[in-house]
């Protein structure tokens, strides 16, 4: 009965809180409380509205977005296939699990020398993004596949379904919510991976802009590029969380 009013109160609190945070950021910048490196928010906004700033940011955002999206697709597809393979061929499962955990623990920065010699500077961002996405997807899919009840398993065995049919009819549909969970978690990971890759001498991209703005003390540009990356990551997260809600309603 009182749930609608409670959600609207929550939204109002969040909006007020968000406005308060922006105001605080503006004031910290205006009075120079954090030094020259924290510009007033209005300075950053006015930099973004200049034609030169807008076009620089837009071009680099597109580059980062396309690397992140490529890596996201590649990582998600490989991880889902890998998890399905580990399910159908149980003997390789413990090895794959352990390998995925180790791969996840590898700091992606450590893979940079390997990737630059193998795939080159241009493609390294997409591959690093794919690796970051791949682990998250593999783990969520593996637990999603394992989520079937033994009664269902027995039913399928009794009816005489073979391994692949059980995968298609039972485990894949059951794993759909986990799939969307994984997508929600890995969207920011893809953007992080792409920007890490760009630190290692990619010709364009937000990661490159951020580092060069930092080194040249262009604070408005640094903050604007950081905000662009943040907004991209936030939007990806919000889009996938909506998709996840729809999927949850359909499949559970």
């Amino acid at each position: 009965m009182n749930t609608p009013t409670r959600t609207s109160v929550k939204v109002a609190y969040s909006l007020a809180g968000g406005a308060l945070l922006i105001l605080a950021a503006q004031l910290i910048g205006q009075f120079g409380l954090a030094g020259r490196a924290w510009p007033p928010v209005m300075d950053v906004v006015s930099y973004v509205t200049t034609p030169a700033g807008a076009s620089l940011l837009w071009r680099n955002t597109l580059v980062t977005f396309s690397s992140a999206a490529q890596g996201f697709l590649l990582g998600a597809v490989i991880a889902v296939l890998g998890a399905a393979l580990a399910l159908v061929v149980p003997i390789i499962r413990p090895g794959m699990d352990r390998f995925a955990a180790i791969l996840h623990a590898v700091p992606t920065i450590a893979l940079a020398p390997l990737l630059i010699t193998t795939v080159g500077r241009e493609d390294a961002p997409a591959v690093i993004a794919a690796l970051s996405v791949g682990f998250v997807m593999f783990v969520t899919m593996a637990s999603g596949f394992a989520n079937t009840s033994s009664a269902h398993q027995d039913l399928f065995t009794v009816i005489g379904a073979n391994r692949t049919r059980r995968l298609a009819r039972l485990e894949l549909p059951r794993a759909v919510p986990a799939f969307f969970d994984g997508l929600t978690l890995s969207a920011p990971a893809a953007i992080l991976g792409a920007t890490i890759g760009e630190w290692f001498g990619a010709p364009m991209g937000l990661g490159l802009v951020i580092v060069s703005a930092m080194q040249n003390y262009q604070m408005a540009l640094l903050w604007a590029a950081a905000m662009a990356a943040t907004i991209m990551s936030l939007l990806a997260y919000l889009v996938f969380i909506q998709l996840q809600r729809v999927a949850m309603r359909r499949f559970t």
Binding site: I102, P188, I196, T230
Partner: protein, 251 residues
């Protein structure tokens, strides 16, 4: 007998690593790469063992920064979650802030932190803390939300105030979740520390890596990558063990 068997199985399950080492070696040899392009794995491993004394200070620095950030960030996340649980008005400020912090790629955050607090230890520590903050916040909050109504009612009837509910009941539900967040963020903390060190180039494994790269010392730079991987895996395994201990203690 069973112990030997389980160790044997553990080794068998490491097949992807053996495969990786062999294919790395084959890849270098078959392409005829010289050691300035890509070194063979055995030379990298040899460099790690012979020059281990050079690695030790960097390992200790990165490990210290990662663990310090892990503990600090987790504590701040825990406190933030308790504040949100405590008061709806505070949640209005903390929730959007947490959502934004969650979405900022650490690569965008480190340069800003480095400019604000200056190159050096505080910037590395602040970066690792920020990356550990959000998971701790979310997991604590979901733990506190899982306190059953009956438990709260009992505490209210017995006349407990909010602080007592928190310390007697909330902690019981929040701690296992908090340990999950520690396990999840442990490798990220090592990554964040290394990224910050790489960018600022002052000390630690990230700085060692960036120096080796600029001197074209391929064995050292791949060796750093290898050592960083081992450190990160060990931190992860340690966090996993701690999670299990806390869980078996509380449930």
């Amino acid at each position: 007998m069973t112990r030997a068997r389980s160790i044997g199985m553990g080794i068998v399950h490491l097949w992807p690593i053996a495969l990786l080492l062999l294919s790395w070696d084959a890849w270098v040899v078959l392409n005829g790469y010289t050691s300035t392009v890509a070194p063979r794995p055995w030379f990298v491993i040899a460099d790690v063992f012979t020059g281990f004394a050079d690695y030790v200070p960097s390992i200790l620095y990165t490990l210290g920064m990662a663990l310090g950030g892990l503990v600090g960030g987790t504590l701040i996340g825990f406190v933030g979650a308790v504040l949100v649980w405590w008061s709806a008005a505070l949640s209005g400020v903390v929730t959007p802030a947490a959502l934004i912090i969650r979405s900022v790629p650490i690569t965008a955050l480190i340069p800003i932190i480095a400019r604000i607090v200056g190159y050096g230890d505080p910037a590395v520590l602040a970066s690792t803390m920020l990356i550990c903050f959000f998971p701790a916040f979310v997991f604590t909050l979901s733990g506190l939300a899982a306190i059953p109504e009956a438990g709260r009612d009992l505490f209210t009837v017995l006349g407990a105030n909010k602080l007592q509910v928190l310390s007697r009941l909330g902690v019981l539900y929040a701690l296992p979740n908090l340990m999950v967040s520690v396990r999840i963020t442990a490798p990220s903390a090592v990554l964040a520390a290394m990224l910050a060190e790489f960018l600022m180039g002052t000390s630690g494994l990230g700085a060692l890596f960036s120096q080796a790269r600029s001197y074209m010392d391929m064995e050292r730079s791949w060796g750093t990558a290898l050592v960083a991987t081992v450190v990160s895996v060990l931190v992860f395994v340690g966090a996993q063990l701690m999670e299990r201990r806390v869980e078996s203690r509380l449930t």
